[in-house]
Point group: D2
Amino acid sequence: MIITLAPEAELQRVRAELTRLGLWVDSVERAPTGPVHVLVGRGSTAVCVAEVQRIAGVQSVSTPETKHPLVDGHGPELRLGDLLVSTRRPLLIAGPCAVESESQIERIAAKLARVGVLALRGGAFKPRTSPYEFQGAGKQALSWLRAAADAHGMKVVTEVMSEADTALVAEHADVLQVGSRNMQNFALLKAVGASAKPVLLKRSMSATIDEWLHAAEYLLSHGASGVAFCERGIRGFDGSTRNLLDLGAVALLAEVHRLPVLVDPSHASGRRDLILPLSRAALAAGAAGLMIEAHDEPEAALSDGAQALTPQALAPLAREVNERRRRDSGARSALAQEGIA
Amino acid sequence: MIITLAPEAELQRVRAELTRLGLWVDSVERAPTGPVHVLVGRGSTAVCVAEVQRIAGVQSVSTPETKHPLVDGHGPELRLGDLLVSTRRPLLIAGPCAVESESQIERIAAKLARVGVLALRGGAFKPRTSPYEFQGAGKQALSWLRAAADAHGMKVVTEVMSEADTALVAEHADVLQVGSRNMQNFALLKAVGASAKPVLLKRSMSATIDEWLHAAEYLLSHGASGVAFCERGIRGFDGSTRNLLDLGAVALLAEVHRLPVLVDPSHASGRRDLILPLSRAALAAGAAGLMIEAHDEPEAALSDGAQALTPQALAPLAREVNERRRRDSGARSALAQEGIA
Amino acid sequence: MIITLAPEAELQRVRAELTRLGLWVDSVERAPTGPVHVLVGRGSTAVCVAEVQRIAGVQSVSTPETKHPLVDGHGPELRLGDLLVSTRRPLLIAGPCAVESESQIERIAAKLARVGVLALRGGAFKPRTSPYEFQGAGKQALSWLRAAADAHGMKVVTEVMSEADTALVAEHADVLQVGSRNMQNFALLKAVGASAKPVLLKRSMSATIDEWLHAAEYLLSHGASGVAFCERGIRGFDGSTRNLLDLGAVALLAEVHRLPVLVDPSHASGRRDLILPLSRAALAAGAAGLMIEAHDEPEAALSDGAQALTPQALAPLAREVNERRRRDSGARSALAQEGIA
Amino acid sequence: MIITLAPEAELQRVRAELTRLGLWVDSVERAPTGPVHVLVGRGSTAVCVAEVQRIAGVQSVSTPETKHPLVDGHGPELRLGDLLVSTRRPLLIAGPCAVESESQIERIAAKLARVGVLALRGGAFKPRTSPYEFQGAGKQALSWLRAAADAHGMKVVTEVMSEADTALVAEHADVLQVGSRNMQNFALLKAVGASAKPVLLKRSMSATIDEWLHAAEYLLSHGASGVAFCERGIRGFDGSTRNLLDLGAVALLAEVHRLPVLVDPSHASGRRDLILPLSRAALAAGAAGLMIEAHDEPEAALSDGAQALTPQALAPLAREVNERRRRDSGARSALAQEGIA
């Protein structure tokens, strides 16, 4: 935002008024002749331009055009069929890192449904750092996942890693997940958008907010029916947690951009002992949901078992999340439709 | 942690058991002759060595000696005279960035006390990026701050920036704050420790957890009566918030190291519109308190007014924090001694 | 590396010997019973295990198995037909950000060839942050690029962004470039590897060295004939340069891993005034080449013109690079085969 | 820089001209009524305002006032008595991490002088992460260091860590070093500045360029006779090097800000095997010198021996540096005065 002062303006007074509104001054710029401009810092509280305009001494207030109009118009909710997802109605998504067999996913789905989890995650195609690690059970895993979810009235969230698989994944999933390593895989974003499904867009390891919003704009401009963002930890410099959970970004998306943003505390911390406190912190920061790795036999998991919680350990969190949903719906009847109560 | 396997051990089974405990394997290392070693990753769940020892096939479990024994023995509480500070009894510290005049700090203290704030902050000496910015009102401000706090039964938290001022600050403050830019100013840490007071140790912009713990070890080994850590945001790459709040570190200190850690959401975000959600997130993550910039006339503040909240805006948060304290104390009488009820 | 000490070892002496070799001790770990282990830090000088073994008091030296055997066996050279690329024979790749028209690329190729540039770059498919920006001229641009290069005896380096386009790009290019946003797009890495061509693998914004090596392992294990790495700046926190050029990583790959690594100073700095000094710094650090954006009419470029150099401005650098190649070949005749002299 | 367009201006043409000059457009901002502003990105090539003014359609060009006038007026050289230090006359500073005894420093100084090192470094006061590590030999070490340097006609560079020691260090040293952990220890900066000596100001782990320049402004505004900056690696996320050497910042300071900036490749990499290539890269990027840890018996060093080079290993680099100095002086006679030839 560039604020141009009138010739008679008193700079000190204008600065005081900007401070009152919560705006930081990045710089005051002058031309040899011509007016004084005040450049407002990006990290300022969001305020209405009209409020700035009203300050005595302000001649004009210039703002940039948005570069992601569809994201700006998206709104704070994601609709998944009969389920509404928002800060006030957070969604708990849980399931194993990878779908390994028909019986494994069915067993875990049953246990998760029992504690109140409404959406099932599980990877059919796994992004693995090494080519020699388990790459997922592939296409068959999609059917197992769908069947397990259907058996328990759950939604399916699963990752798509290849343009070539997009149609197939879209057939089986309620939400297509784009992984953090593919956040700027533009060919994939276009294909996923074209499937016209809701998308869970993970933030890449070092994406700025702006890059993240632009990635969502790719999805929406190619046809996605909705986008939920997912913060999963960015690259940090301290190995005591796997990644660095950026809840400031979550609060920013939820409170300022008014967009639905979920948090994946499993990948963010990598530590079982931090997942519950960080889940609660995420909800307090405005998260519209959580995506958590859960396995009933972590020791048998083919990937990431060390960070998986058991369905049992998840139960209290599931209760809290559903309590919020219930409170928001204001009536048990609404929740009944969603299949819990 | 290095786990040495017995000759007959089955590596796959041991790995599964480690996974069950929430431990990541960083590498498996072998010598041409000699046993197989499993190196456990630092970012693993904290577990008891005896549990690892019990796994079939494990010959021995080696762990490093601690390098910060005093910090390890500190415990999760900070005692400030009659006030106890811990995750279960969080403390809200509030006040202006800088103490500017006797009347300013008295007026703000009165308003903050009225909404239930128990500790008053305010800078007499200000660390400013530029030598030409307001450097604080200096020594006289310490007396004003003390008097204002005393008038309303509040504790005083204030920063000390110079070895030369340490004794004077220690005379006036209940808690000496070491700022993030001085976290590894070892001369200052020694002087502050020697004052034998409780210390609030802010994390430096890019300190690892280990460096932070070592800085606290300097304080304790030189005589500090206690240390509370304070996360205030680390250096991030996205200007939409001033800094990057690392609540994973807060959860780690609170849950794993069992140390008192506060959060300064004002500096972490720099944005008035994110302070309340991030405050609640911090408490959910395990914070033992919050330090928040508050000013009754932000537009008149000589520094950082754009991120200051009014006492009024803080009131709901103060209520929540005090409700937690009350719940923990289990009896109104305890709280009455602290001067709220 | 885990060094296990003999019962009679003197720890201080062993530490001194490790220091002499340039090894850092991360921790000394002990089990209640059993030997003392010394864990050597990853950021140590690379030394031969046998040297460590010879230290008095060392019982055994354990090392992890490599996880990227094909990368380890790759060697410091990349062969592009008749051109050899290595630290001693660096390659200058230059060309416009995007191939915009047949005449544009032909004109620029002619000018670059005249100043001694041996390889032509230019994007047919462009990764753009926003879906509303120019996405490249697509398939036709590949033919234009090939024709322009052939007319002047140059090699072609161009980016492939989609699995679906891989075969077509492989038909037209001598080197397939994988962009930084796709470094861990594993579906693409597999497709590109399968084309059996040499690949230029850009480092992603916040990839660790290990992740980068693993991405190359994907390429090689799926058939790539060779890999050259390309450092293009990682995510930094200071906006005065676009990205943060990590020449330490370049030196590490060149000197320790003995792999061919190029540098893209255009994207790393984003500033025309820093490209030449950083290019020379890259060569001094061990780079096997440079990839630089060049345009004869930067003001007419559809993308990234602000960071493009003119062919003229590149001339001195081209001379220096070719002088190195010539020196290494030891005879003009060798260079004559490559089409310069 | 804010460029305000005239009513008749064609935005596309102005953008093209800005691109031609190497300027990036951050945003185009508009008020409902009033002119269009173009905000130029900070990471652009530095250009003369008059050139921008000349573009057709530009009404006015506004720029911020500098906040560090003394740094801006400093110039690219540092004078150390009879020695001039600049990009064209780089200085090699070498010596042990810590001064441990009179004989140790005398022996090392002799060996370094013999290979052509003109300035001796060595710590009397050592900043150590842990309070239980060797903290330096203290005041006596200053005399040993001075005597050793004098015996061989060398300059002395040493760190000051405490306001209380500043006068004493200033008495013994030719250049006062402010360590990276104290870059924003403002009390120390004021004291060091007041000593009226030349200062070597290390960059803190995650300082922006702007913060670094401001720290130098503290020094100069309090009386320092000159400042040389020293890049020693910033906090990185990959443990294969100790820190992340930012040669982009070096090039920026040298080429754009025209300030003397040295590089410490020892701390930047922590690895003996990368010090020489990174030293040469630093010089190519525009460094005005190098500060390197050297020890004749690394295994006996009380600190940081693993990254120390022997005087012998430094000899080729010393030759190269002195060759540059010689070339610049244009005459052996000038160098003779400095005591080498």
